[in-house]
Amino acid sequence: MSLFGFFGRPQRKTAEAARERLQILLAHERAGAANADFLPRLQRDLIEVVRRYVDVDDGQVQVKIDREQNLSVLEVNIELPSGTKASGG
């Protein structure tokens, strides 16, 4: 028996978590499986644009997506090398 079970009701049943995860996931998958594939292309394009100004490696640009019930957060992280100066376009 888990500690949760011993000291009181567990805070959240796992079946509830399963339902919520599925609802969020399927809402996005139904919205268009094709759209889910754009992240690698977005990352490539971003690197290309950033490189016009700053010398960055492929590994220094990261694109992440976090899907929630009513919104998706797109997080773009660009790590600039130290001592970077704008090279001017």
Partner: protein, 270 residues
């Protein structure tokens, strides 16, 4: 004209073949001339579940290729009148199933049968695609488990967009069959409830098959579980077949029996 029913799920191991065998047998028990076809080329199994594995001579692929006549490949069930099995081939050739060939065989069977039950392979490849493509109705089998529900949703999407019915601007009549349902785990909040799965997949509920030892025992001896009419799974499939034929029979949600409750109390105090 036969009604073509596909039994599909996306995910493997959820009970498609058990369900195909049970539904085909149940339909035949109700006097409907029925054939069950195995679409899982390379991984033949319906013959084993139906208990006719030693009588396979010709198969679905032989008929498609013109190497055998349909009547040579059809295996007549020895227990139930009006029930036939069309086994598939063990070939590893992925292209053995052709769309034209499947259409031709289904067309020929349609002349003579009331129901054609197509047992789909797992996945969304050719076999699974062709099993659902010509269907009039679908039994979507899912376990109350996240990956199974997700894959079922994918399959529902494919049937809604890529089937022949969809191409004709119509739609496959889809039903949800929940299998391996464990009321004790649902009660504890460890398993998705019927309402949860139904709400997520948004399909009418055809039946609920509880987790039941009789399913393995029936497959051990090559007997469709619906013939075990004392078992919970057998009863659940009998109701499923009645509803599939349009009868107004209420779906029984498996609940904890008295023994289950006592069992739980004892376990809690232990």
């Amino acid at each position: 004209m036969a009604k073509i029913i596909v039994v599909t799920s996306g995910k493997g191991g959820v009970g498609k073949t058990t369900t195909s065998a049970a539904i085909a047998t149940g339909l035949a028990l109700r006097g409907q001339k029925t054939v069950v076809i195995d679409f899982d080329v390379g991984l033949r199994n319906i013959d084993l579940i139906m208990g006719c594995e030693r009588r396979v001579v010709f198969d679905f692929i032989n008929v498609i290729n013109g190497d055998a006549k349909l009547h040579q490949a059809l295996i007549k069930d020895k227990r139930v009148e009006n029930l036939f099995v069309l086994p598939t081939s063990q070939t590893r050739d992925k292209d053995a199933l052709s769309q034209d060939g499947v259409e031709r065989v289904l067309g020929e069977l349609s002349q003579d049968f009331d129901y054609i039950v197509c047992d789909s392979p797992a996945g969304i490849e050719r076999g699974a695609f062709l099993a659902m493509y010509f269907a009039d109705a679908a039994v979507v089998v899912s376990n109350p488990e996240v990956s199974s529900v997700r894959d079922a949703d994918r399959m529902i999407g494919l049937m809604a967009s890529k089937s022949r019915k969809a191409e004709q601007g119509a739609s496959i009549e889809m039903h949800l069959l929940l299998t391996r349902y464990d009321p004790e785990r649902v009660e504890k909040g460890e398993m998705l409830r019927v309402e949860d799965v139904q709400e997520i997949l948004a399909l009418p509920l055809l039946g609920i098959v509880p987790e039941c030892p009789s399913v393995l025992q029936a497959s051990n001896v090559g007997m469709p579980v619906v013939l075990d009419d004392k078992s919970l799974a057998g009863k659940a499939y009998a109701g499923t077949v009645a509803r599939l034929m349009g009868e107004d029979v209420e779906v029984v949600v498996p609940r904890l029996g008295k023994r289950g409750l006592l069992d739980r109390l004892l376990r809690r105090s232990a």
